[in-house]
Amino acid sequence: MSKLICIIDDDPIYQFLINKIIGNSEGNHDVLFFNNGKEALDYFTLDLNKNLPEIILLDLEMPIMDGWDFLKEIDKLQIEKPDIYIVSSSISHEDKEKVKAFPQIKGHFSKPINSNKIQEITKK
């Protein structure tokens, strides 16, 4: 039950912590880190045949390319779409409305995220 999970977030502490949480949770998951949407997108477009993540945990507020722009861009790519979860420190009502426009978003969470939630996501 090993899955490739992609983390897109500009907070290094969060990256460190989520990596630890995933490591502690059941299943031997692989994790990919990107500091912003652009980095992730560049990685995906570089080689479409490589292993693509099955799950993306996406932050919204990021420099260079934020979560929303990333969502728009990935929609254009001809790849098998991963399940995307929004993980943000706060989700405003406005954001919740915006989320509805992106059907590939499977859920949204407020930080902090714990191993229970990771298991919930990966078991699906």
């Binding site: 507020e61 260079i64 930080k111």
Partner: protein
């Protein structure tokens, strides 16, 4: 000239008073009618008199003829008396005389006053033996003829032989001695018949025949119709041989009046008709005249009303030539609004005093009005007041010609809405300010919650790990992380504090600052970086430029802009930063040849908090946010121009 004027006044007076004129016409006509009626009356009267005179005279002649015949007869009869006083052949002569004179009924010879011989005897025998001179009723008349020695007619009287008649007695003298009478008897009917009275048409007139009774001295009438006719018109003749009076009396008392009355009434009727006709004819012009007067009054009244409205209206009103735009008349309020005098305006046109940007629209509206596409229009436009300031007005234009007429003039009504416009503008500005502040406040609260939450969530996770940590290494690792979080939280808090202080600082101390000196100061603060990256920084701000600004803000703004320019320099070329000042616009520009910003993508977010657009570890997304807030607080603006890979220029406009 005076006469004509008088005539005109007079005719005008009559023209406007048809009733009086009608009455006058009536009087005039009636007077004429009366005159003619009177004339006719006189003529008829004259004719009647003449007619009556003719009749009465013909009857008189007949009478005289009868009497003459009677005289001759009595004379002839008297001839029969011979010298002895005895009549010879009385019977024969009398018969001859009676038969040849139809007007004589009988003959008598009366010797010594006693009737002795009579013819015809059958009818008159009863009178024989009557002693006339001794009969008191007839004695006086008989004596009268003896006295006068002429024939005298007695009666009419009741005859002894029956009936009423007259007796003509001729006294006969023999050798100067009264012998007796030779007499004729004429019955009244015979007299009437032969005089022509009986055969007369008596529808208009009738005869009366009278004699003053010698004994009673009273006038006695002998014909029927004995009514008193003294109040009627009559003519009379006297027949002296019998002391008779013959009257011709007009039967109809008021006949003449009736005859003329009809024409009188007709005349009256005609006069009334004439007067009414005149009135009706004259009333028309009089009514027209009256109407004209009323209309003129109305026009006068509405002219006054219009004048008053025009002069007193709180609106500026102008009559304008629709072709040229020339002012024809303007009211006081119009002059007041645009600040020009009436003379200045009426020798000018609206284009001259209209704000150049608004002339076009105004002329367009006017063209439409002239073409008949619209009847009126309403625009908001600006005039240039004589003093040079701009006056906002709400203008309503309406044409003053009818659809089938040529375009000529229109009326323009203006209301000064400058104050309203200003209030609107202020309201709009304050609304923009408030909504801008509201937006910033929302943004700020979002930033606060987001940034603080990202730290607290990390702390929560770390504390979870700390709880479950088995080894000391693990725990140390977490504590180390916790320190990092705490450090960045501290940084965030101080940033927020700085932002809050900008926003809450209302009474900032403002000083006159030398701009060039502060640029130099920023340059010296960043000298290390400048030297390290070999930056060519040119301060081209003239040394005499001074601005009113808060010291800390100016320092912060210049420091941030210059440090950004250094930080985002292009790695392929030598960084060049040029700082200039535009004195006219009072704007400072910091231009670099760095990596540039994709304004299309990031323009909106450029001045947002924690917005960074590259992976530079020094980018914290706070610098430009603070700069923007500080400039806003000082009442200025900041703009940016940039091209990716070419460079960026920030321009600050000082208030």
């Amino acid at each position: 000239m005076g006469l004509r004027k008088k005539w005109k006044t007079l005719s005008n007076w009559f023209l406007t008073k048809p009733n009086i004129s009608g009455a006058l016409v009536f009087l005039l006509l009636f007077f004429i009618v009366c005159f003619f009626v009177r004339l006719r009356y006189k003529t008829i009267e004259e004719n009647q008199r003449r007619e009556m005179s003719n009749i009465i005279h013909s009857v008189q002649q007949n009478f005289e003829q009868i009497l003459k015949t009677s005289y001759v007869t009595t004379l002839t009869l008297a001839m029969t008396v011979n010298d002895e006083g005895e009549p010879e052949n009385f019977e024969k002569v009398a018969a001859q005389l009676v038969n040849s004179n139809a007007s004589i009924d009988a003959l008598q010879l009366v010797p010594n006053g006693i009737i002795k011989y009579v013819y015809p005897v059958e009818a008159n025998g009863a009178a024989i033996g009557f002693d006339i001179l001794n009969s008191p009723e007839v004695k006086d008349e008989a004596l009268k003829s003896i006295d006068s020695k002429l024939i005298y007619f007695a009666g009419p009287l009741r005859l002894k032989q029956g009936g009423i008649g007259v007796v003509g007695r001729l006294p006969v003298f023999k050798e100067n001695k009264f012998w007796g009478f030779s007499a004729v008897i004429i019955k009244l009917e015979t007299l009437m018949k032969h005089s022509g009275i009986a055969s007369m048409d008596d529808s208009k007139y009738y005869f009366q025949f009278s004699k003053v009774n010698p004994t009673t001295n009273k006038e006695e009438f002998f014909l029927p119709n004995k009514d008193d006719f003294s109040n009627r018109y009559f003519q009379t003749v006297t027949i002296p041989d019998g002391d008779w009076k013959l009257y011709l009396v007009m039967r109809d008392k008021n006949g003449l009046v009736y005859q003329t009355m009809t024409s009188g009434f007709l005349g009256l009727f005609l006069s009334i008709m004439g007067a009414l006709w005149v009135v009706s004819i004259m009333k028309k012009p009089a009514q027209l005249q009256k109407k004209v007067y009323q209309q003129a009054q109305k026009i006068h009244d509405s002219e006054i009303e219009f004048r008053t409205l025009f002069e007193q209206a709180p609106l500026g009103i102008a009559k304008v030539d629709s072709e040229s735009g020339d002012f024809i008349t303007v009211n006081a309020e119009f002059c007041k609004i645009v600040g020009y005098s009436e003379e200045e305006l009426t020798s000018s046109n609206f284009q001259r005093i209209t704000h150049p940007d608004d002339v076009g629209e105004n002329v367009n509206c006017l063209n439409k009005l002239r073409d008949g596409n619209i009847y009126d229009f309403s625009v908001e436009k600006r005039y240039l007041h004589k003093s040079g300031r701009t006056v906002w007005v709400n203008l309503i234009g309406a044409r003053l010609w009818k659809s089938d007429e040529k375009s000529k003039h229109h009326i323009a009504m203006i209301e000064d809405i400058t104050d309203k416009k200003r209030a609107d503008e202020e309201l709009k500005q304050s609304f923009e300010l408030v909504s801008d502040q509201n937006k910033r406040l929302l943004n700020f609260s979002y930033i606060v919650s987001h940034n603080l939450r990202s730290h607290t969530s990390n702390i929560q996770t770390i504390s979870d790990f700390l709880e479950t940590a088995d080894t000391k290494e693990e725990r140390d690792e977490m504590i180390d992380l916790l320190k990092k979080v705490s450090q960045s939280l501290n940084e965030t808090m101080s940033n927020l504090n700085e932002v809050v202080s900008i926003r809450t600082n209302i009474n900032l101390s403002i000083e006159k600052l030398n701009l060039s000196a502060y640029v130099e100061r920023a340059k010296s603060l960043l000298s290390q970086q400048i030297a390290k990256q070999d930056v060519n920084l040119q301060n081209l701000v003239p040394s005499n430029i001074e601005i009113n600004y808060n010291t800390a803000y100016l320092e912060s703004i210049l420091f941030n802009l210059v440090s950004n320019a250094i930080r985002y320099s292009h790695k392929d070329r030598k960084p060049e930063i040029v700082i200039t000042f535009d004195e006219e616009a009072r704007a400072l520009t910091v231009k670099d040849n760095g990596i540039g910003i994709d304004l299309k993508k990031n323009g909106e977010k450029l001045f947002g908090m924690y917005k960074t657009f590259n992976n530079n570890p020094d980018s914290k997304g706070i610098g430009l946010f603070l700069v923007k807030n500080q400039i806003d607080a000082m009442g200025g603006t900041i703009t940016v121009e940039s091209k990716l890979n070419e460079g960026t220029a920030f321009t600050i406009y000082f208030k």
